[in-house]
């Protein structure tokens, strides 16, 4: 990352924290509704140091990692098929859209019932929610391959495999990465929602614990900040990979 990007990020953070503090002072909300930033910061440091957050964060990260990989992996394959074959697109896209339109919150208990309260259920939920944007962006990317380039490939007698590797994938990559950027952030949502449907560990669990039995609003906010930070970090990783692979843009 450029140093200026880092600088801008720090300035943004400072503005955010200041605004937060101002709202706390002006509104006079009690700390159990809106804790001041320094209390959340202290709680965040504390919770990491005493090992409150760590096992939960680790569990959620594993769920996100697996959910995103499985979901995005399947989505790229299905998205390719959707992009290449109008017949396949007509046959299965209604189901994909329907699955996406059904609120994941409503679906989560059913999936938890089917796949159990363990890791598998969370991975399935996360994968499911990642699937849609990546599949659609892959489909759009594959359809956007320049017909002239495909004709060039044909004139050079490129095999199916060569067309895939040298024309379709490179041409679709920018679009696929658009989907992956969305996918990686909502993979986080999927994992948390999955945890809410029943789990022992996970940041989603910790949010509920902090709010409910512990009644520690600062810890709740600290957990939310951790979730958000994970989302931002994963997003940045995708952007960095994209920069390496799509240099020509």
């Amino acid at each position: 990352m450029r140093r200026s990007t880092l600088g801008a990020g720090l300035v943004g953070l400072a503005v955010f924290v200041t605004a937060w503090k101002v709202i706390v002072i002006v509104s006079g909300f009690p700390a159990y509704i809106l804790p001041p930033p320094e209390a959340v910061g202290a709680s965040l440091v504390q919770a990491w140091l005493d090992g409150t957050i760590e096992p939960h964060a680790a569990a959620t990260l594993v769920e996100i990692g697996l959910g995103f990989s499985v979901g995005a992996g399947l989505a790229v394959v299905v998205g390719y098929a959707l992009g290449r074959s109008a017949l396949i697109a007509r046959l299965i896209s209604p189901y994909i859209v329907a699955a996406q339109a059904t609120p994941i919150l409503a679906l989560a208990p059913v999936l938890a019932l089917w796949f159990g309260p363990g890791l598998l259920g969370k991975v399935v939920i996360s994968a499911l929610i990642v699937f849609f944007p990546v599949a659609v962006s892959t489909m759009v990317g594959i359809r956007s391959v320049d017909a002239g380039l495909l004709e060039l490939g044909r004139s050079l007698r490129a095999s199916r495999r060569q067309v895939l590797l040298t024309l379709e994938i490179p041409a679709a990559l920018p679009s696929i990465f658009g989907g992956l950027r969305i996918g990686v952030t909502i993979a986080v949502v999927g994992a948390i929602v999955g945890e809410w449907a029943g789990a022992q560990y996970g940041l989603g669990v910790l949010v509920n614990l902090a709010r409910g039995s512990l009644f520690d609003t600062s810890l709740m906010f600290a957990t939310l900040a951790t979730i958000a930070a994970i989302g931002v970090a994963l997003y940045l990783i995708v952007v960095l990979v994209e920069r390496r692979l799509v240099r020509w843009r």
């Binding site: 320049d146 002239g148 380039l149 004709e151 060039l152 490939g153 044909r154 004139s155 050079l156 007698r157 490129a158 060569q162 040298t166 024309l167 490179p170 041409a171 799509v246 240099r247 020509w248």
Partner: protein, 260 residues
Amino acid sequence: MTVAARSGHIEARDLTVRFRRRDAAATTALSGFHLDVRPGEIVSVIGPNGCGKSTMLRVLAGLIAPSVGMALLDGQPIHGPDARVGLVFQEPRLLPWRTVARNIAYPVELAGLPEAERETRVKELLHRVGLADAADLRPGQLSGGMRQRAALARTLALQPEVLLLDEPFSALDAMTRERFNVELLKLWERLGTTIILVTHSIAEAIFLGDRVVVLSSRPGHVVADIRVEVPRPRTLDRLDEAAVSATAREIRAHLEANEP
């Protein structure tokens, strides 16, 4: 230049190409198109926009099948793309994510040539088309003329016996264009490639061609097949000869007679 029994004989017999489209009436791009190009001959093709020149080249390159008639290479019907036939498309069609060098290497890469052989060919071609300094640039960083030169080099990389050129120099400035005409002739003298060159420039058609074929407006067919009586080897100063201007006049007359 007198190599006996060369290959690279192209024939188009009574070609008609119709494009059917669901949303519109069918277009007839070519109709009753005949052409016979001897091995090692250079034929320039000239004709109004939309008369079917690019379509004709795509048939000869095996990219589309004619609705009527057939195209032959060395007496064999052309059923699909053939490594012996190289087409330079009207648009450069470079892969935007590859550098110039890797674009030129693309066909030989697909053909599975060994790495070392690839390297030497690409180097040589980069020099030949004057892009050695641009080898590591991507197409988006090139001028239109540079892109056309890269596309030409890419087609030459497979060392085809028949070269189909679709306005390959249209984006070059006048000086570079003349230089490339001369370069193309040198290459041709060395390799004896059969060349079919589509162009809108009467001067270029005459300078390069053994014959100039004039097409009617759409649907395209041959309205004149004019032999260029300028001896080879040709040099740029030859362009001022009387034979050239007489031929140019003749071509222009045919083109004008054809205007819709």
